[in-house]
């Protein structure tokens, strides 16, 4: 995997939905990218901080590209980034990743099982392999 570190970092914004495993997968996929696979190219941002109207977060989201990772079709991360004036270059839905894993047992909203970590890896790999300009 080759990442051009000279480019400006991209924000990865997961929903972290607390009620379902999908939210945890979104969160862990974000950390897989920002902490392990490509920390020089991506960074996370607190969604709650943005939504609560923090000036620094609002200014940052307007300057940087953003990839949102939403657990469910309510798309809280994507909607909130849009409302804050951010530029979403890719909107990922965890539920879509599940289509390739019918019958999978991903774990719970608290703890991921092996299938859950596999889905995390797939989403994280997808984020790293596609950079700005791509909106799904």
């Amino acid at each position: 995997m080759t990442i051009d570190v000279k480019k400006q970092k991209i924000i990865v914004m997961p929903c972290s939905g607390i009620g379902k495993v999908h939210g945890l997968i979104a969160r862990e996929a974000t950390y897989a990218v920002t902490d392990e696979l490509a920390p020089d190219s991506f960074e996370p941002m607190c969604l709650a901080l943005l939504v609560s109207g923090d000036e620094e977060a609002l200014a940052k989201i307007k300057k940087m590209d953003c990839i949102t990772v939403d657990g469910c079709p309510k798309l809280c991360a994507a909607k909130n980034v849009e409302m804050a004036g951010g530029k979403i270059v890719r909107s990922i839905r965890v539920v879509d990743a599940f289509k390739n894993y019918r019958g999978a047992e991903p774990g719970t909203a608290t703890k991921l099982a092996d299938d859950g970590w596999t889905i995390v890896s797939e989403i994280a790999g997808g984020i790293c392999n596609k950079r700005e300009g791509e909106v799904s």
Partner: protein
């Protein structure tokens, strides 16, 4: 749970940038799943803040505890902005005296220190839940015609020392009483039964079973001597 009984809402910030956000999320889940499952509900903070009226009603329907990772208090401020004052506000960085910053953000990297941090915070949340329920019971009593409170009080916790650290186990004295009534002797062989029973109500990781067993035997012996 009977109709009319209180469900306390817990809203966690889940801040993605800091380890304390992960701790707030996990501690909230622990209370919801294991510690006070019958008395608590939750909602995703982003959904609550950006949602419609139905979602915003959450905090007006339930006495609400916010759990924030840091002093920016996103959960507390957001909830109060849309639904009025919260019943309690927990701040993870304050509970952990800033030591949470050394914890992991991802579950992949969790250590014993991280788990202890989650336990500590979840204990504080559970205490706040109990306090709210207790207060609401008292309010009912004050407003009622009769002088006695009919609702049950939260189970009192008993603190035992597990591998050198204090752990509160809700209802442990009741568990001890029940086992004593059923003839469980307070000797070195009672550990398996104690552990088996306590595990029904209190999460114990497999790798910690031995230290819990030792702590429970010691606590049970002491309890029976009283």
């Amino acid at each position: 749970m009977a109709d009319g009984e209180i469900k306390v809402g817990i809203i966690s910030c889940s801040g993605e940038e800091i380890p304390e956000g992960t701790i707030s999320r996990l501690a909230t889940r622990r209370v919801l799943e294991l510690m006070r499952p019958d008395n608590t509900v939750t909602i995703c903070l982003p959904l609550f803040l950006a949602g419609n009226e139905a979602e915003r009603e959450f905090a007006t329907k339930h006495p609400t505890i916010t759990v924030d990772g840091c002093s920016k208090l996103c959960a507390k401020k957001g909830t109060e902005k849309h639904s009025g004052p919260v019943s309690a506000a927990i701040v993870v960085s304050e509970i952990l005296n800033g030591e949470g910053a050394c914890c992991a953000r991802s579950a992949k990297c969790q250590t014993e220190t991280d788990k202890e941090a989650v336990w500590l915070v979840s204990e504080e949340i559970a205490k706040a839940v109990d306090s709210i329920i207790s207060e609401n019971c008292c309010c009912s009593v004050e407003n009622a015609d009769t002088g006695e409170c009919a609702c049950s009080k939260p189970l009192p916790g008993m603190v035992i020392e597990v591998d050198g650290r204090p752990v509160t186990i809700a209802g442990l004295s009741l568990i001890f009483d029940h086992l004593a009534e059923n003839g469980l002797a307070a000797d070195d062989l009672c550990g398996d039964k104690l552990l088996e029973t306590v595990k029904i109500y209190h999460q114990i990781e497999p790798e910690e079973e031995n230290v819990y067993k030792t702590a429970l035997i010691s606590a049970y012996k002491k309890y029976r001597r009283q």
